[in-house]
Symmetry: none
Subunit: 221 residues, 2 copies
């Protein structure tokens, strides 16, 4: 879940829309007080934070948040605010984006920050509930039992475990995993997903992989 704290309604809505199109759940806040409240009381994966906010500045919000959590934060700064990296880090932010921003860049930055701050980038072992994946040996386990998976199944699971809860369209999955271009009526990923589910089902009743009708699939509890 990504929390967008931004008082300009147009920008806020735009960000939320684009993010949810990219498969993220979002929450929004329109002033510093509300933002701080939500940041402290809801469990979110990343905060997108404007610096110039009513009631409480972004800087104040971030300082408060940092006292109790290390939720990654990306700061949005107006184009005439010069922010250098040192300043930024003093604030406790993980990255910043100047307005006016390119929406694709926002997505990229968000994904970069999430990648960096998650155990992903280098952690040799990723876990999600009882599922564990060892990147070195390319093995997958449920609790302590190995689930034998094919190469494609492994790649799909790795992608899911590195981005839990994120929705991947079939196109997305296919292209991430094979590197090839996706043909529109392709049913391949269906089958892989089905096979993965079948293998997981031997060990548990939990589904782990949700279908998001019309959108794709998501690793979820």
């Amino acid at each position: 879940m990504i929390l967008v704290i931004e008082d300009d309604k147009t920008i806020n809505n735009l960000l939320c829309k684009v993010l949810s199109d990219s498969g993220y759940e979002t929450d929004c806040a329109f002033d510093g007080e509300e933002g701080l409240n939500k940041a402290l009381n809801t469990k979110c994966d990343l905060i997108l934070l404007d610096l110039m906010l009513p009631l409480k500045t972004g800087e104040e919000v971030l300082r408060e948040v940092r006292k109790v959590s290390s939720t990654p934060a990306i700061v949005l700064s107006a184009k005439d605010q010069v922010i250098n990296r040192i300043e930024l880090l003093r604030l406790g932010a993980d990255d910043y984006i100047s307005k006016p921003f390119d929406i694709d860049e926002v997505i990229l930055r968000i994904e970069a920050v999430l990648r960096r701050t998650k155990n992903t980038s280098d952690a040799p072992v990723i876990e999600f509930m009882d599922l564990r994946l060892d990147k070195e040996s390319k093995r997958v386990f449920f609790k302590n039992e190995e689930i034998t998976v094919t190469g494609m199944e492994y790649s799909i699971l790795e992608l899911f475990l590195e981005n839990p809860n994120k929705v991947f369209s079939k196109r997305n999955l296919f292209e991430s995993v094979t590197g090839d271009a996706y043909m529109s009526d392709d049913n391949t990923m269906n089958v892989h997903i089905s096979n993965i589910r079948k293998k997981i089902a031997k060990y548990t009743d939990e589904s782990y992989i949700d279908t998001v009708y019309g959108m794709g699939y998501r690793l979820s509890k």
Copy 2:
């Protein structure tokens, strides 16, 4: 413990703060003399070292340190200092980062260096199950019987035994072992693996080397 030697107090504190947020213990020094002292007299796992320092340059510090220890070191260089890899190695550093740096990059580099320098076990003998490899004499044993291996076979086995369970692609293997660039669809490693297996099979039914279809090979029980 990571020792930060950097005369700019802001940067030094920033680095220490971020490192300790990432779970590392830190120590700091603000000039070359102090840095050298701490490097020699405290047990640290890694040194972050600015080149331009008062009292003693980073280069001098590193040279002194290298006389008595191989503690990994990452050099911080001002943006206008051009440092090439050769120069870097002459200094005895393990990596370098140009200022102004991205703090996340620093963390990543530190982790990469620690990972690289950790596992290079200097142990002259490595074992995996009943397989034993003597790096000094370059010989391989199964229990107490010697398996005569060729040079290439030895290198492959050494790589495997240093990284048990890790999957190596053919490209990986080929490039690690020969140093040459790998041409796709090269079948050489297949054959070596096959020959190694044949030799091991004389002593046991265990396979030791798994094929991971589409990915590579892995030393495994």
